[in-house]
């Protein structure tokens, strides 16, 4: 069964789906029909046939090519992939076991996820010792430990999250794929994609290296240009689904002796939204902000009605910086140099209050507010109330959250803010592009 053509083909489609490429059953059938029409022994023909039928977006091409090359490879390489994968998996399991051994409270293993355990295993030895000591010293004199255990787990989870952030999440993906991914080819593709420079779109913006910045700049420019085209596009008269404009029709047909010869239609007026960007530039967010501001900078050179703010402990109005025509680097230098809040702590509540009190004229029913932030702020409840007030005075609020989606459930702030806006995961350029396409370009 495992060597049959159908099985292998289905597995390839399954891998593509795992990599985020949408492949429907219909497309799978079309691809199979396409393979009947090409020479199966010609690798290039097979690749072209599968690309034509399974891939529908140029951005997916590098992923497809990587998947194809890893999947349709010689048996020796496949064997190597399997061995490497098994090695990593075994290493991952060993580390989990080690963590299980360490993270014990009153003889019971703490219930943490595999990911958390793996992260624990990678902590500096001193820190591991400190956690162990803490667990040992947290003994209660009676049997209340059952109710104390969840609290302890919560604390350990918080410590691990702190370390994860502190270590910059630099290589935490090293062990995780081997356990999460149940396929050696998939694991190999994910690793290759991670090493491939052409996949900057899928890399966490925080980790993008200095040498890749020019490429990122180009991607952002292209993206902002696409959005600008859409926003600034003029709308033409349509003869469909609109009401007849009797007044204009009669006026235009007087020359035909009153016979309605030429019809005129009422046109639906389409308003372009006013965009307001509110960007978190506190310590953890500064890097993301630089990318998103760069994107908005590209946009503001074409579209005029964009207002920009940055916030950390307070709110600052930064639109004037983008008014001058000059290189982006210069603008950013000036912005960062003059800003009093860049890299400081976060108080979203205070910032929104300032926005409401000092800039009421910028908030109207045509304004779409884009907020970029990881939601981590002081005074969460008050901030949520302010967000609700803001929601009532604008058309829509789109929140670009730089935290991965699987971390949202752990944060009270996400739950509080999510109620009053559309929140999207946005820590890679691919996310940014997808949101922009979905919200504005489609």
């Amino acid at each position: 069964m495992q060597n049959s053509f159908e099985y292998n083909f289905a597995r390839f489609v399954h891998i593509l789906r795992h990599l985020g490429i949408k492949v429907s059953t219909g497309e799978t059938i079309t691809a199979l029909r396409a393979l009947e029409l090409v020479d199966l022994l010609n690798k290039e023909h097979v690749k072209a046939a599968l690309a034509a039928t399974l891939i529908k977006n140029p951005d997916e091409q590098p992923i497809f090519i990587q998947a194809f090359e890893s999947f349709f490879t010689v048996p020796e390489v496949k064997q190597q992939q399997r061995e490497e994968w098994e090695e990593r998996r075994a290493e991952g399991l060993r580390l989990i076991e080690e963590a299980d051994h360490d993270l014990v409270y009153e003889g019971e293993t703490l219930s943490l996820t595999d990911e958390e355990k793996l992260f624990y295993a990678r902590l500096p030895e001193d820190e591991k010792k400190r956690i162990k000591r803490y667990l040992e010293s947290s003994k209660l004199p009676d049997d209340r430990y059952h109710s104390f255990k969840p609290m302890l787990e919560y604390q350990i989870r918080g410590t691990l999250r702190y370390w994860k952030q502190r270590l910059g999440e630099e290589d935490d993906n090293y062990y995780i794929p081997s356990l999460k991914v149940d396929d050696e080819v998939l694991a190999s593709i994910i690793r290759e994609l991670g090493e491939d420079d052409s996949n900057l779109l899928y890399e966490d913006m925080k980790k993008i290296r200095e040498r890749d910045l020019p490429h990122v700049t180009n991607v952002l420019k292209l993206l902002s240009r696409k959005l600008a085209t859409k926003i600034s596009r003029r709308y033409r008269m349509s003869k469909k689904m609109v009401k007849i404009d009797l007044r204009r029709s009669i006026k235009a047909n007087v020359r035909y002796g009153g016979i309605i010869f030429k019809l005129h239609y009422k046109q639906k007026r389409i308003q372009k939204p006013d965009i307001m960007l509110i960007c978190d530039v506190s310590g953890s967010m500064a890097r993301y902000a630089a990318f998103v501001i760069q994107f908005i900078y590209g946009l503001s050179s074409v579209v005029k009605n964009i207002e920009s703010f940055i916030f950390a402990e307070e709110l600052e109005y930064v639109t004037p910086y983008f008014m001058k025509i000059r290189p982006f680097e210069e603008t950013m230098m000036e912005l960062m140099g003059k800003s009093k809040i860049w890299g400081k702590g976060t108080n979203f509540n205070k910032s929104l209050k300032t926005l409401r009190e000092h800039y009421p004229l910028l908030l109207n029913s045509n304004t779409v507010v884009i907020i970029l932030s990881d939601t981590k702020t002081l005074e969460i409840d008050q901030a949520a109330q302010e967000l609700l007030k803001l929601k009532k005075s604008v058309k829509d609020i789109i929140w670009l959250n730089t935290l991965p989606y699987n971390e949202w459930k752990d944060l009270q702030s996400v739950a509080a803010f999510q109620r009053h806006c559309q929140m999207y995961e946005c820590y890679t350029l691919a996310h940014l592009e997808k949101i922009i396409r979905k919200q504005f370009i489609h």
Partner: protein
């Protein structure tokens, strides 16, 4: 031509004979679209030869090319059919006193009063033709939804006349500049082809085929210069293949033997159509340096 017997080689030869330099990654998707009788959706930057594929197909199969140019606001009336309202009115005026009202109505909604637009024309054609739906990304989503209904069944319903089935399923070529995301539904119904800017070698072949009067050495220099401009200068609009050919033709008119800075200066407007791009080119590289770079690369 019997499409069931069409081979990849025949199609490749057809492209070559029509002067379109196509490698496997272009020929195979087109071949599959023809054999599977599915529309082909071609994506890529402006000027890489997307529309040309439809024209070439029409020439290869010696058939008509029916073109539907898309724009925002395009609707069924402009794409499919429209009743000739004016003609109907005149007819009413002429016969209203002599014929019964039922007969008038029957006559008025006959094919004689139907204005065929490109989609209906392609469906009703007496032989297989090429239907080019150009720049599909410029239409609205509503029209896109309507379109993929037509493209999946190749039939249209006109309330007054009934359902019209395609006599021959046309070769449908859709082009997309990527200005907006197309719906999954439309993409699913098509065979997909992405055309990138060509490699230097391929561009040399294109220049030699399309502008045979140009010296071989000069063609290499032109391809090298354009390639450098596309990949090393941050241009808003990169020179397309058609602009490369315009530039090559201009060099022929100037009687150039080798690429000189003066030629670039004089014909730069054929390659770059934006003032910012021209300024950027002059600031970043300039004609002299570009010629020097191209020559040193060719020596290697």
């Amino acid at each position: 031509m019997d499409f069931k017997k069409l081979t990849i080689e025949q199609l490749r030869t057809g492209f070559e004979q029509e002067g379109y330099i196509a490698e496997d990654e272009i020929v195979i998707p087109v071949y599959l679209a023809l054999r599977l009788e599915k529309p082909i959706l071609i994506t890529g930057a402006p000027g890489v030869g997307k529309t040309e594929i439809a024209k070439v197909l029409a020439r290869i199969f010696k058939t008509d090319l029916i073109r539907l140019q898309c724009y925002e606001g395009l609707d069924e009336n402009k794409a499919l059919y429209e009743w000739n309202y004016q003609r109907q009115l005149i007819k009413i005026q002429l016969i209203k006193e002599s014929t019964s009202s039922e007969l008038i109505e029957q006559n008025l909604f006959s094919p004689a009063y139907l204005l065929e637009r490109p989609l209906l024309k392609a469906i009703q054609a007496t032989r297989k033709n090429v239907l080019l739906i150009d720049e599909i990304d410029k239409t609205d989503e509503e029209f896109e939804a309507f379109l993929f209904e037509v493209l999946s069944d190749f039939q249209v319903s006109i309330p007054e006349l009934g359902t019209i089935y395609a006599r021959h399923i046309p070769i449908v070529v859709l082009t997309n500049n990527g200005e907006r995301e197309l719906s999954d539904g439309l993409k699913r119904r098509c065979v997909f082809l992405y055309i990138d800017f060509p490699s230097i070698e391929k561009e040399i072949r294109i220049i030699k085929t399309k502008v045979p009067q140009l010296e071989a050495r000069l063609a290499e220099e032109v391809a090298g210069a354009i390639h450098y401009m596309r990949h090393h200068i941050d241009l808003k609009k990169k020179p397309s293949i058609s602009e490369t050919l315009d530039f090559a033709n201009a060099l022929v008119l100037m009687g150039a033997q080798r690429l000189e800075p003066e030629h670039i200066r004089q014909a730069l407007n054929l390659l770059l159509k934006d003032k910012d791009d021209i300024d950027m080119f002059n600031k970043e590289v300039g004609p002299e340096e570009l010629v020097e770079i191209v020559r040193s690369r060719l020596k290697r």
